[in-house]
Amino acid sequence: MHTLEQIMARVTAALPGVRLEVIPNASPANQASLLLDHEHAREIAKFLRDDPDLRFDYASNATGVDWPEKTVKEKVKVKKIIDGVEKEAEELAERKTPGFLEAVYHLYSMALGQGPLILRLRTGNRTDRVALPSLTPIWRSCEFQEREIFDLFGIEFQGHPDLRRLLMWDNFADHPMRKDYAPADHQEAKP
């Protein structure tokens, strides 16, 4: 069984130039994940699948997550002029963390019985840069699941053989699982 760090080391050794980042997980489940860069994602996926020591041949779950833009209020130290003297003071400043959409993949190895290995891919933003490389050419189990992410979140998977809506009807215009989706006809249930 390989730890996440060992897997990361193996990948970077075999594929120089890839950018990987460990995203920690604070819950007791201790399932940290690897954030992949877009241009090498498919190469990394293929390596993970075919390397004889890793053999992650089974992509169990592919899902989307919506992280909208957040406004974070932080205390920052600024230099201000108070009563004619320059002093350091604390001020409440607002910082916007950019929003993005995320695709999360859970991989297991049927051949070697290890897993889960969790991969993440993030889009540029939630509006116009919503493309991600599709991992369906590597694991066919992502075929319907990526279509569902496209349907409900709006991530466009490049390289997917048949990217169209899965659950909603074809001329439906919204992406309902986004956090800012409001249904057309009714809002909250009346008590």
């Binding site: 819950s27 007791p28 489940a29 399932q31 049927m110 066919r140 075929e143 319907f144 899965l166 659950l167």
Partner: protein, 383 residues
């Protein structure tokens, strides 16, 4: 091999008669599609040349509703995913929450979970054989026998949890209620009566020449494709891949039970049917051991706050071997009372990835049988 999107009525194929391809929409209202499932099939005579599944007719927005509900309130919704098997759905969800929040489960509760899960597997596989035979034209008899056995197990569930189908039985850190008086003896009797029922069922079906002729060699799923397409459950094992999550992850107390994992040789419809019959026999073995070894004790971890559970921010993916395959829940918590992201990994949907591959080149009558052998429930496919 993923075929290009379908064309509506291609031009004539080229012999002197000049015939066209026929496009048929099987479903969403169809007696044999196991629910509101639709397949757009393009036929050359009776042979399938293209098959496109259409989903979403039972998309009930479970994942979106769960983002507003507390963790506890989502348990009854999980009953309604694979609506034939509410106990295993409950278990997959509470297992994932227990992973997310780091909750321990008392031993008696673990044994109870195994007992109800294996009872569920028994009637699920029996009903599948019934539905499959119904699709083959054995109008009613195997299904009636299977449903008769199912009713006996539903009686057990009703006296235990209060409901036949939507049991809402498991909780984070254990089970909701303990066994009523006499339940254990009744369960032992049901398990003891199930083995002769299986013998009778098999004597009626497994050597039947119509079943053999219609199922052998039909809908073959090669091993490598099964693994790559994420097929799990009896369909995967019928193709010869030894992967049973009860043995791989050893969740709950499954490591304490001796049972075998049946594997198929060819991966056709008959193998998928036969693997399920053999799995029922293995479930009976597990049931005997669990009923015999059930310890006394608490059934719920007293330290768990069920009503206002707020797991620490983080995420977890938990999975079990449900009767249909790998049922997993991926939960992201932001520290609040409701999950930030609640995802159901549906075995039925992922198993359908290979439906077209298995059906190409077969007659349209075989499509119905191949679909039946995959064992889908639309509540889980569409959620």
């Amino acid at each position: 091999m993923i075929a290009p999107p379908p064309q509506l009525s291609a031009p004539g194929i080229g012999d002197s008669v000049g015939h066209d391809l026929l496009e048929v929409s099987l479903g969403p209202h169809h007696p044999s599609t196991h629910g509101v499932f639709r397949m757009d099939v393009v036929l050359d005579g009776e042979t399938v040349v293209k098959l496109t599944p259409v989903f979403g007719y039972l998309h009930r927005n479970h994942e979106k509703i769960a983002e507003k509900n507390s963790y506890l309130a989502s348990i009854p919704y999980t009953d309604r995913l694979d609506y034939m098997c509410s106990m295993t759905n409950n278990w997959a969800y509470v297992l994932s929450v227990e992973k997310l929040a780091g909750l321990a489960v008392p031993e008696r509760a673990e044994y109870l979970r195994v007992i109800v899960a294996e009872l569920t597997r028994l009637f699920n596989h029996a009903c599948l054989a019934g539905f499959l035979l119904q699709d083959m034209g054995a109008l009613g008899t195997p299904m009636m026998y299977a449903f008769r056995e199912r009713e006996k197990i539903l009686d057990l569930f009703e006296s235990l949890s209060g409901s036949r189908m939507m049991c809402n039985y498991m909780r984070f850190g254990g089970c909701r209620c303990d066994l009523p008086a006499g339940w254990l003896e009744q369960a032992a009797k049901v398990a003891a009566d199930f083995a002769p029922f299986l013998d009778q069922f098999e004597a009626l079906l497994s050597e039947n020449e119509i079943l053999r002729a219609r199922c052998e060699g039909v809908g073959v799923l090669p091993r490598d494709l099964a693994v790559n397409a994420g097929v799990t459950g009896p369909g995967l094992r019928a193709s010869g891949v030894n992967y049973d999550i009860r043995k791989v992850d050893q969740y709950g107390v499954y490591s304490r039970f001796k049972f075998r994992v049946p594997l198929g040789g060819r991966g056709d419809v008959f193998d998928r049917y036969m693997v399920r019959i053999l799995e029922m026999r293995e479930s009976l073995r597990i049931l005997d051991q669990a009923l015999r070894d059930l310890p006394a004790g608490a059934i719920l971890n007293p330290r768990v706050k069920l009503r206002n559970l707020r797991p620490k921010a983080g995420e977890a993916y938990g999975r079990i071997e449900a009767p249909k395959g790998e049922l997993g829940f991926y939960l992201i918590s932001d520290g609040g009372p409701a999950p930030y992201r609640y995802r159901v990994r549906p075995p039925s949907l992922v198993n359908l990835t290979v439906l077209e591959d298995m059906c190409l080149g077969h007659a349209i009558a075989d499509v119905v049988i191949i679909l039946g052998s995959i064992d889908i429930v639309l509540g889980e496919v569409d959620r």
